[in-house]
Structures are given as structure tokens and as C-alpha cells.
Symmetry: D4
């Protein structure tokens, strides 16, 4: 029996990481955007603290696996995006998840305040949709067709605003 090989189109371009399955809800809008744009991606639950080896290995292999962007979501002492960024040269986008006590201010500062040398492209607290859109804009340098899709998306946003009735 022939094994169906993953075609180039199906190979993931974006890896979405989160530290716990409970982060899935916060990450969902990124998934929605990537599906809408028909961009292949994969999602991984890997924790900087509970599975550091696997998280780092994932980051270290991402480039050779032809991923183009990594999105990492984390809350509280949100180390995942920074730790992943330390192990890959790919652009890493960090999503600070709203936390229970400090409402995500801790997540935001833990992600954005990276030391010189290892950047993390940080989006808003619970900004998963923008993380996906930023990933697409980044990949559009290499994939011009993504830019066309972004253009249409922006047009839709604009129309939604212009058609609003108040």
C-alpha cells in the first residue's frame, strides 16, 4: 500500500506553541485566521517549564523542518516565546495570555522585555488573531500571494467598519 506523502502544500509553515492545553482558547483566533488564509500550520502543546527539552528541540528543528514562523503563547511568567527564540533563527511571535491575577500584565512584560540579541515579536494581550496576521505578513516576503490575501482581508475589515450602523 502506498503511503500518501505530505505534499509541499500541506507541510506546515507556522508552528503554534502553547504551554498547556488550557491555553487553547486563547490561541484559537490564530488558528481561525490561518485556516481562513489556507496556510498550513501545526499546533503543539509544549512547556518551557514542564517539557523544556521537547520545547527547545522543537524550536531547534523548526528551521530544518521548513517552518517559517513560530507563534508561542504563554501566560504569567511567560517564558516560552523567549526560550523558543533562543533556539531558532526564525521569527518568533509571542502572545501574552491574560492571566488570572494580573490580567496579562505579567505575561506581556515577561514576553516583550527580551534582552538585546534575542527578539520576540510581541502582540497584544490575548492578541492571537494579530499573531497569525503578523506571521502571514512576515511570510509574505517570500510568498507574495499571502500579501494579496492580506490585502483582501484588510478590505473586508474596512468594509465592516464602513458598513457599521450606529
Amino acid at each position: 500500500m502506498a503511503i500518501k506523502r505530505k505534499t509541499r502544500e500541506e507541510r506546515p509553515l507556522v508552528g503554534i506553541m502553547m504551554g498547556s492545553a488550557s491555553d487553547l482558547e486563547a490561541v484559537e483566533p490564530a488558528r481561525t485566521i490561518l485556516k481562513e488564509f489556507e496556510i498550513p500550520f501545526e499546533m503543539k502543546v509544549l512547556s518551557a517549564h514542564r517539557t523544556p527539552d521537547q520545547a527547545l528541540q522543537y524550536a531547534a528543528e523548526a528551521e530544518s523542518r521548513n517552518l517559517e514562523v513560530i507563534i508561542a503563547a504563554a501566560g504569567g511568567a511567560a517564558h516560552l516565546p523567549g526560550v523558543v527564540a533562543a533556539k531558532t533563527l526564525l521569527p518568533v511571535i509571542g502572545i501574552p495570555i491574560k492571566s488570572k491575577s494580573l490580567n496579562g500584565l505579567d505575561s506581556l512584560l515577561s514576553i516583550v522585555q527580551m534582552p538585546a540579541g534575542i527578539p520576540v515579536a510581541t502582540v497584544a494581550i490575548d492578541g492571537a488573531a494579530n499573531a497569525a496576521l503578523l506571521a502571514i505578513a512576515i511570510m509574505a516576503g517570500k510568498h507574495p500571494e499571502f500579501r494579496s490575501k492580506l490585502r483582501r482581508y484588510r478590505k473586508t475589515l474596512e468594509e465592516k467598519v464602513l458598513n457599521a450602523v450606529v
Copy 2:
């Protein structure tokens, strides 16, 4: 007399924007990194509030001028990165500048908390070096040689740490 045409190598790939010439010091480390990486860039003083038309025009034309990333630095009510992001599909990186009274917390929140639809890739307060490194990582999708440079840069960072004596 023959006018020397700008060669492809000299055309800027990165546009660095700042709202005021007084922001130059905060932006300097980005310039240093880009020069070190020999990546052509341009710097513009354009304000979201004092020269809104020119700032938006610059953003609107960036793509057709073959810029690949825009870096925008701003402090206080730091609207420049978001306003620029609204007018281009290129990835926009925001640098929150440390402000006089609130130490850049205002700049950070003004830049990072963008609404769904228009992302700004935010780096640390006064994180100009990382803004440049992130721009390079983004462009490396299309320019693989940038990734090799990044790899060497990371190696240098690592060695500097490993050689530290305390």
C-alpha cells in the same frame, strides 16, 4: 554627466521611522545592527501627529518602493507604529521609547495593544537592537544569506557570555 544609479544592493530594505529627531538616540542601536549586517536601510523623521500625511504616505508607498520591513519608534502616546501598520501590508516593528514620566510603560501599551486586524510586532522598551534583529530574521525568509549572518551573530553573543569572567 552620468548620474550614478542606485544599485539593487543599495536600495533600502528597511525603513526606520521616528517621530522626532530627538528619538535618534533611542533608535541608534538599530542603525548599528543594520550596518553591521550590511543591510541597506533608510531613516525618516515623520510624526503621526505633526506630519500625519507624510507619515501615512511613506507607509503607503513602502511596499512599492521594495522596502521589506518598517521599524517605527515612538514614545508616550506612541501612535506611529500603529498608524503606519494601518497603511501597509509590510511587517511593522514598533519600538516603545522610554518616556520621561512613565518610563515607557505608556509607549509600550500604546504600541502593543493593537486591535485585532492590524498587528505591530513590538519589542522591548528602548529595544532598538532587537527591532533590527527581528527585521533581519523576518527578511531572512526571502534572503537566506541573512540567516547565516544571524547565525554568526548569535555565535558571537554566545561566546561573549561564555568568555565572561566573574
Copy 3:
């Protein structure tokens, strides 16, 4: 058939802008006050990020359309009031909308911390009622009858307090 021309009394003096129809609830108290004071106004959904051209055009034309004050409400990276202020000489009042994660602290700082040159008259987080009252106080310089209305309104406020039973 004769087209009924808009009389001078019906032409809006105040333009209320918001970035999304979902901001309507936060803006509602401004509408209530302006109706109570019988001051003509108009409401527009226009976003600094999703419809930047239209938002700026609205601001640029406001003076020639005989608007006297613009009220702009926004949340998170709340750029609308500042961007509008950049394109008009009319007084612009900013309403920071309470945001989901940071409770409006981000909105407040994004609106109030404007750089020297382009002021935004900022009211409290979710302070739409005061935005309207401030607009009326501003217009009262030219429309003395507004001041009389404000005087009666203040009297009512005072009586409500004095009649409270605890």
C-alpha cells in the same frame, strides 16, 4: 418634490467617532447628554487602523463642515483621538474605553500622553458623559445659551445629591 434642506439648527455641531460598532455602549452616555441638551450631533464608526483614510478625511473636513468639537472614543492602543487631532484644529476630546485585559489603563495612556503640539482633551475611562459635557462647555464660548443649559444641569446634579437619603 421639494427636498427638505437641513436647517442650520439641525446641522451637527459635534462629531462622535468610535473605532468599532462595539464601542457604541461605551459612547452611549455622550449621546444621551447631547440629546438632553438638544445639541445636534452625528456619530461615525471610523477606525484609525482599519479605515485610516476615512478617519483622517473626516477629521480634515470637520472644520469646513462646521463641526465645533470632535469626540473620539477608543480602547487598547487607542490611537483614534490623537490621529484625528493631528488632522483638525478643532478641539478633540478623547474617551478611553475600558479594555478587556488592562481595564482601560492602556486606553487612557494611549490617549492622554500626546506629544507637545497636538493636544487631546482626555476624560475618564468610560467617561462619555463628561466628554459630552466638556464639548458643551467648549461650545458655550460661542453659544452662550449652552452655558445656561449647563447651569441648569449642574443645578439638577446638586439637587440629586442634596436630596439623597442614606
Copy 4:
């Protein structure tokens, strides 16, 4: 000997209040702007806490004295703008002064978070220049020539940005 009467042009349109002579430095940019615009104003040291009666009396009489806007600067538990606003129907602009320990966050919140009914138009921490510009924009409703001056001022701001060399 004839006493030279104050001509209409010399009567102050703007009253600038501060709680202490030590606030003068923070208020200075407002004075500079108003002088530059040749708009008559007066400055008063009056404290909501140390001279409450005089501060309130000043506010109560401002309208009949033909002032058109009051600017009040205060730091820390910055009550002056709110207390003044309680006693006048004129637009009151509050300047939060940067404070020693909390850098003006206390001043800002004390001024901007006014309850519904009594607005204070708040500008940035140490935003005295913008307080003056906002006052001028407010008065321009009645004094169209102020708008022309504002237009020229904006033009200067724009040119300063456009001429910056980096």
C-alpha cells in the same frame, strides 16, 4: 494723573492656576505658548488644600471676569483642576505634574478620573504646552483668528519635523 485703563485686548482670557510657586517650572511651557500666540492670560498660585476659599472664589468669578478657559496644574493628590471645575462652567484643563515618587501617575489619575457631571480636560503629564494649545483651540470657536494662528503653529511643527536630519 490718568490711570491707564486695561484695554479689552489686555484683559486675560485664560487663567492659569497652580497650587504652589514650585509648580511654576512645570507650567512654564503654557506661558510660553500663550505669549507666542499673543493671548492675554493671568497666572495665580492658589491651592485646593491650602487656600480652598480663594481657589474656589477665583473659579466662581472666572466667568463674570470674562475668562474663557481655566488651566489648572497640580501634582500628587491633584485636586485643584477638579475642585475648580466644580465651581465654574468654563472649560477647565488639567495638567498633571510629574510627582516625586510616582512620576505623575498619581497626578494623572487624580485629575482625569472625574465623576460624571464635572469634566476636566486632561492633558499629558507635564503637558503644559498642550494645555495652552488646547485652550487656544477651545477659544477659537469664538475667536476665529486664533484658529489661523494655530494653523500657522501646526505648519511650523510640521516643517520642523520635515527638516530634521538624521
Copy 5:
């Protein structure tokens, strides 16, 4: 018919002020404590912003009416305690009420950060019970029997803790 004169025991020693009847819930624990201690008090709804004259008059007359302490509760730009303190030499206790957007941080800073010269004895956010207990401790200097009551109250607190079962 003889009018029953208010006996000395019934004359209020503590005045509890709040800016709005809606603050009553936050103030309730103070009432409960004062009743439990059988200390005569009065409650007034008076606003620093909506009824400044009456609020100041109340403060100015408090000493001659033989009040010994004033408790003032306020939220947001919480000016009432400071404004009252400016008009009386009696000790003024401020209760910062938890606010809708900033959870009372604004109330706390507006009350506690008073300038040198006019103190307000500030208790915790929503700390009405402690405001009453502090008032009693203050009055106990003159009324030694209050100290005995406080001693018994403390004993009860202690026993409640010691008897807790976990």
C-alpha cells in the same frame, strides 16, 4: 408640647461623608462598627464636585458642631477627603472606594498623596470598617471608655482567629 432636646450622648461625634448615595454600600461597614460601639454619628451625601459649597460648609462647621472626626469616602478622582481636610482642623479619614475601571488604585492615590500641610488619614481600598475603628482610636484620646471598647473588640477578633478550624 415640649421638644425633646438632643442629649449630649446623642450628638454625633463622627461625620461620615460620601459623594453619592451609591457609595452607601462601600461605607456600610463603618456604620456597622460605629453602631456596634454605640458611638453617635451622622451620614451625609455631599460631593466635592456636585455640591462643593455644601461639602466645604459641612467641613468648616464640623468642629463647632462638636464632631471629633470626619470620615470621607470617595472613588475615582477622589477629592472629597482632601477638600474636606482643607476646611477643618479635625482629623479626616479617607476611604478609597473600589472604582469600576482601575479597581480603586485611582481612588487610593487621589486620597493618600496629599501635599505637605493637609493630611488625610487613609485606610485601605473599601476599608470602611477600619475607617470607623481608626476614628474610635482617635477619639479614645479624649474618651477613655472607647479604648476599653476597642480592647474588647480586639479580643473578639483574636478569639475568632484562634477558634478557626481548618
Copy 6:
């Protein structure tokens, strides 16, 4: 040889506590005020953490030693005022000292956010002068002459403001 007994006038009414001799500078304005008012006081360096037994003993004996108010200054995790308040029924005034990293926000919250049952009368960060003035206002209930002194002091404050030239 006859030992000169401490006269009643010389016995301290106020105890000023601080956790370290390095807090002396922050406490100095309290000393200045009490001297100016000729109110006997004593100063003690006692730490809630380094000398807990002595600090608590001092608090426990304060009432029997005829102290009338305790002022306690502390920075960072500022436990001294609360711990002292737990061991005395006298009014305890807390001075949050500006701290090195968090500018006194930690000190303020550690002091003011006391649980129901044990109040601390909190003044502004570095508000030692107001701590002394509050102590005097508290003692004035029993010592009417203090109120006269306070009245004169307020008059001086007022005159200083009214005589300011700007």
C-alpha cells in the same frame, strides 16, 4: 545629688519609629514639625524584621507610657506600622518611604492595605510632615491648645501661597 525628674511637659506624646537609621532622612520632616509645635516626642529605630520583639514591646507599652500616637515609617515590604498597630490601641500613623526600585508603591500598598480590624492611618509616600500634622490633629481632641497651633500653622500655609509671586 538630686536627679532631675522628667516633668509632665517633657514626657513624649508621640513615638516615631523607623526600621533603620537610614530612614532618618525620610522621617526628618516629622521631627521638624513636632519641634516647631513644641510637642514632646521620642524617636526609636526598631525593625519589624530585625528586632521584632523590641518593636512589639515598644508598641505594647506605648499606651501605659502615656504616648498618644505612634508614627511608624517603613519602606519596601513595610510591615512596621501594621505590626505596631497590632500591639497597641493607640492610633498608628504609617509613612510609606520611597523605595529604591518601586518608588514607594510597594511601601504604600504594604502599609495602607491593612485587613479589617487593625487600621493604620496612612499618609503619602515620604509624607512625614503630614504624619506629624495628623498626629497633632489627633491629639488635639484631648489637647485643645494643639488645635490653636494647627490653626496658626494653616494660616501660615495660606499666606505663603497667597504671597507667592509668579
Copy 7:
């Protein structure tokens, strides 16, 4: 009748303190962890403010009672961990409890910002599970079998993450 003596195995190694029975819910995860690890512990409701003598006595006797770690949970002006640390040489772990108004930021700063000399090992806001795990890691220096248990626990955490399906 013979009284069953407490065997060595049953003697508590960890003392968990909380200021009020209402803190039990926040402390519960610590209890769960210690039970799961079969480590004997005791729980005490003792308040730094309502039962200071008993709280300090408990701390002072902990070492001689062969406790090895003390965990203290507190909210608001959270003095218990610091006050306990002042009276024992045992490691003290502080749990900042999420507070009603400031979400535990006050608790965190009150616990963690201890002055040099008396450390408190602080865990996250509402971080009771980690307090217990830290206590176990600390005791593992003397009890190597605890380290084996920790190793198994970590393995479980890791597997839970690796088995997550998203």
C-alpha cells in the same frame, strides 16, 4: 488507657499558616500536594495583626518542634510571612493571596520586597501548589526520598503536557 504517641513519621515537617479561615481556599492546593507526597504537615490560622503574639510564638517554636519549613499565606498588606520569618531561622515561603481590589499586587509586593537580612521565599500570586513543591525541594536536601518523589511528580507533569491533544 494508653495514649497513642505521635510517631516520628506523623510529626509535621511543614507548618502552613494563614491569617484567616477565609484563606483556606487559596491554600488548599498546598495541602493537596503535601498529602499527595505523604509529607506530614499542620495548618494554623494565625494572624500577624489579630493574633500577633500567637503567630510569633508559633514561628519562634517551629524549629524546636522540628518543623523544617513554614509556608505562610496572606493577602493585602500581607505581613504574616515576613513577621514569621523574623522569628525563625527556618526557610519561610510566602504565598501572596489574590486580593479583592488590587488582584494580589499588594500581597505580592508586601511579601517579596523584604529588607536585607530576613528573606521570604515568595511564590506566585495564589501559588499554593508551588509553595508546597518548593517546601519539598527544600526538605529534599535532608530527605533524599523527597527528591525521588519530586522526580516522579515532574515526570507526570511532563507526560500530561506531552499527551495533550489540541
Copy 8:
């Protein structure tokens, strides 16, 4: 030539990690304390972001190298302590270093807000002395002589306070 073998007394019990040689000043007080207590330790510059492999390897081998506690200092997005804690079962103490823009609030939250499962014992911002003292208190469970040294140290602290003259 005989190589002098490291005696048991000289083998380090504490490993102090910092991300950059520039953190040395912040860490210095820990070194001072450990030297004063004659406890062998080692210092390593290893970064979670610039040398992740070496940092993790160090953590992973610490237990087998007979280290008993790890102290990790970091500023900004301070991931080092958490990342180290993920790779060892030893107690890890985190020192938040005061950062340039946010004064260490970012460092503190990044370190203390660890997710359930992997604790970091956090001390105050720039609290290196307490980190060392906490390490000693932790090790004293196995090394009773450390407790005697701590007792003497506390006595010295106490005497310093009691001998202070103000």
C-alpha cells in the same frame, strides 16, 4: 607533580548564575554573604537566551555535582531562574534585577509568576543578600552548623538596629 584535589570543604554548595557579566554588581551582595558565612560557591555567567544549552546543562548537572541550591539573577524578561528550575529538582532562588525602564517590575513578575509545578523562590528586586541568606537557611536543614551561623548573623542585625542613634 601531585595535583591538589579539591577537598570536600571546597566543593561548591551554591551555584550563582547570571545572564551577563553586567549583572555582577547586582549579584555582589550574595557573594559577600556566602564568603562571610564561609560557604563554598561558584558563579557562572550563563544566559537563558544567549547560551540556552549551557544554561540548561548547568542546571541539569547541578544535583549530580552536589550543588544544593541554585541562585539565578536576571532582569527584564527574566527567564533564567524559571528555565533553570525546569531542569533541576534543587531549590532555585530567583533575584529580579532592577531594570532600566521598568525598575525591575518586569523582572519580578517574570520570575515570581511561575506556573504550577515548577516553583522559583523569589526574593526582592535587587535582593541578592537575601537570596544568599535564603540559600543558607535552606541548606541548614542538612547542615545544622549553618543555622548557628545564621543565628549569629541575626544577632548582629539586631544589635545594629538597637545600637542605632537617631
